[in-house]
């Protein structure tokens, strides 16, 4: 694909260098802080399971108890494993239950040997979780070898969103049979602001189904069956976003999810989550994804629902560069970077289609080794479902012409309802038509040198560099506070979940980060 835009490699290198410079202070911040959810993720990997009668996970009760006694700054690993030893409990969930009942107190051991012992136990327990993650990854590789990968690029990505895992499952299986390569289970509207991960199989989501370990397991098992039936490994996606990003990443790793929505800024911008909380959580979750062999999907598409897709095109590029930097820093490889972008230009705008092509090609050529995630029109979809299906067709065509890696299938009812079963069928038929009839059209499509498409791509890249320079000068946190992305203004000292952040003490210890740090 490369070379259609005639991008200057020096300019591209400049852009990357600027992104690294802009991102580094945030990485430093993430490396020196922890959050309640990072700590809970550690304990989940170390084996805490289940929830109390009110549905509050034991892991939350445990972290809260530790925090009340010694704060978060040391990390919970040492106090917890020290307490296990002291209390003579060897099931960590039992410890959590006791802690919740007020039957255990936590402290940082005073004696160095005790610290070492607690660290050693923590490391072992945490390592146990990581071993599960590793096994899952190996299992995935085996199943892919057995059943095979999708025959075509882009992979076809479909959403289910009934709110009820038991409705989701047959719908997901039907979607896979109809051609979906990736199934995403959308989450209930409220989940990202919950500071705990719900437990068990759930049937009561709004416009999406709760992300729970059990729901993950049920869906993955169902899709394993379907993969076998179809002779094609069907991938499963969920969301590691929101206040529980690290934990959900850990659960995803342990339940063999294959892709996760995981953006460095989405939660800040679209859920008003505190920027620092997000950046800390994000780094940990990405380290887990790196280890689990999970492909992340970033959320640049969302910016174009609140900002204008032409005016703000360069903010997508900037965000992709930042997401790439953060991802690499956390250990993710290029094949794991499902960088997002979207077909959101007003279809009434002259040249809208050529502009879309230019933007999509730019992303493609800037990130040649990443499986870009190409998102369908949403903002300019209306109740006119006939027109909707048409727009989706042209979206699919851009996807095919620009070699996108993952195609989130657009639904003609986008402006009306969460997708109906038949909407998915119509949408897949649309994708199939375009890929079958024009899947290789890119071979014939060589934008004229210096023509509209090339010029537009260069223009956007130029704007992106200018913006990155400004961010380097001011700081990324300030840029976010100013509404640079998606016109959402999010100051670093506001937003949800800030109280769950703590600065590392000198003796901060986290057995999982230790294992995952590159």
């Amino acid at each position: 694909m490369a070379g259609k835009l005639d991008l200057d490699p020096r300019v591209v290198r400049t852009a990357r260098r600027l992104a690294a410079k802009a991102g580094q202070p945030v990485v430093d911040l993430a490396r020196s802080h922890t959050t309640v959810s990072v700590e809970r993720a550690v304990l989940r990997l170390a084996g805490v399971r289940g929830a109390d009668q009110d549905g509050i996970p034991w892991v939350n009760r445990l972290v809260d108890a530790v925090r009340a006694d010694v704060g978060l700054g040391h990390g919970v690993a040492v106090p917890v494993f020290h307490a296990m030893r002291s209390a003579g409990v060897d099931d960590i969930t039992v410890l959590a239950q006791k802690a919740a009942a007020g039957a255990v107190r936590f402290e940082m051991p005073a004696v160095r040997a005790e610290v070492t012992a607690a660290r050693r136990s923590a490391k072992k327990a945490g390592g146990g979780g990581l071993k599960i993650v590793d096994r899952r990854r190996a299992e995935r590789e085996r199943l892919i070898k057995r059943h095979g990968d999708p025959k075509q690029r882009p992979w076809i990505y479909l959403i289910v969103a009934t709110g009820d895992i038991y409705e989701d499952i047959p719908q997901a299986q039907a979607a896979a049979r109809a051609g979906a390569d990736v199934i995403a289970v959308i989450r209930s509207t409220g989940q990202s602001l919950l500071d705990y991960v719900p437990e068990g199989a759930t049937r009561e989501g709004f416009a999406g189904t709760y992300a729970t370990q059990e729901n993950f397991r049920l869906m993955r098992a169902a899709l394993d069956e379907t993969s076998k039936e179809l002779g094609r490994y069907v991938r499963l996606t969920n969301y590691a976003s929101g206040l529980c990003m690290p934990e959900i990443a850990a659960l995803a790793g342990m339940e063999r999810l294959d892709m996760m929505l995981n953006d460095s800024m989405y939660g800040i911008l679209f859920r008003d989550i505190n920027p620092i909380r997000t950046f800390v959580d994000q780094r940990f979750s990405r380290q887990v994804h790196a280890r689990a062999g999970i492909i992340i999907n970033t959320g640049e598409d969302n910016y174009l629902t609140t900002a204008d897709a032409v005016e703000a095109a360069h903010t997508v590029t900037v965000s992709q560069l930042l997401n790439e930097f953060f991802a690499h820093e956390a250990g993710l490889e290029n094949w794991q970077l499902g960088l997002g972008h979207a077909f959101e230009i007003n279809p009434d705008l002259p040249e809208s289609f050529r502009l879309e092509l230019a933007h999509a090609l730019l992303a493609r050529e800037l990130f040649p080794d990443a499986p870009l995630k190409w998102m369908p029109p949403t903002k300019h979809m209306t109740g006119d479902v006939f027109r909707g299906n048409l727009l989706d067709g042209f979206f699919n065509l851009v996807g095919a012409l620009t070699g996108q890696g993952i195609l989130l299938v657009g639904m003609m009812t986008e402006a009306v309802v969460t997708p109906w079963l038949s909407d998915r069928d119509i949408a897949l038929q649309n994708v199939r038509y375009v890929l079958t009839g024009a899947g290789k059209l890119h071979e014939d499509f060589v934008p004229a040198p210096g023509g509209f498409i090339q010029s537009r791509a260069h223009e956007v890249l130029g704007e992106a560099i200018a913006l990155l320079e400004k961010i380097v000068d001011d700081s990324l946190l300030d840029a976010i506070a100013d509404g640079t992305f998606g016109i959402m203004k999010r100051p670093a000292d506001r937003g949800k979940g800030l109280d769950g952040v703590a600065k590392h003490d000198e003796d901060y210890y986290n057995p999982v980060t230790e294992a995952l740090e590159p």
Partner: protein, 243 residues
């Protein structure tokens, strides 16, 4: 399952999509009128999701829930009440029971000139991987082509001693297909006594298979018919059961 309801995205939600035009200019009242129509059709709640002015008229898209129940036990359909035979079986049965070739005359009557459908049934080439009736050695096929008048058809059927007459009708505007079919069956009734009348078969994509008696024909075939089905029916109706 006997009672079912439409399925949008969960079992039993009853959701359907509807679109139509009302001959009134677009305004709030027109939107209300659109909802009124949807309500009368049993959609409640009816969600008006799109209204597009088209001069003095307005086009609407409505989504909503219908409370009607569909009783699959009460569905009337013309089920295939004869065995599906291979070409070999068709030929063998005709040979055995009729001891002569079975004569078929086909045409697209009236002003209708759509021959692709009748050709698909009659011509060697066939459709969907199946050869047409000409391929069957024991069928003698006369394909009169398009825009054949009813008198010419009757005449030819008489000449060829047709056992069966196959008529195609594709144009349905102003019920052209129904009118032409009725005229055709009436002409055969008039021209020939009951015992001498060929089997009358009509086909076309927009027929209702339940209307055979009403139209005065023996059988109706519709969308997606294949030659083999027709051959099997001919044997069933004219040559008795195979072996």
């Amino acid at each position: 399952m006997s009672i079912v309801r439409p399925y949008g995205d969960t079992t039993g939600d009853g959701m359907v999509q509807l679109s139509f035009t009302l001959p009134i200019p677009h305004d709030k009242r027109a939107e209300g009128a659109a909802i009124q129509l949807a309500n009368k059709m049993g959609m409640d709640p009816a969600l008006l999701v799109h209204a597009k002015p088209m001069g003095e008229l307005t086009f609407f898209v409505v989504y909503g829930k219908v409370s009607h129940l569909v009783d699959t036990d009460k569905v009337q359909v013309v089920e295939r009440d004869f065995p599906l035979l291979s070409a070999k079986e068709v030929n063998a049965t005709i040979k055995r029971t009729l001891r002569r070739r079975l004569n078929v005359v086909g045409a697209c009557i009236g002003t209708d000139a759509h021959t692709v459908g009748i050709d698909a049934i009659l011509n060697l080439k066939g459709i969907a991987g199946e050869k047409g009736l000409e391929y069957y050695s024991e069928l003698s096929v006369t394909n009169m082509g398009a825009q054949v008048s009813v008198p010419d058809l009757v005449e030819t059927a008489r000449e060829r001693k047709a056992d069966a007459v196959l008529v195609s009708q594709v144009v349905t505007q102003r019920d052209a297909h129904l009118q032409n079919t009725r005229a055709m069956s009436a002409a055969f009734r008039e021209a020939l006594p009951a015992g001498k009348r060929p089997l009358l078969i009509v086909g076309g994509p927009r027929f209702d298979e339940l209307m055979a008696a009403d139209l005065g024909v023996d059988r109706i075939f519709t969308r997606g018919t294949t030659p083999r089905e027709v051959a099997s029916y001919l044997v069933h109706a004219l040559a008795g059961s195979p072996s």
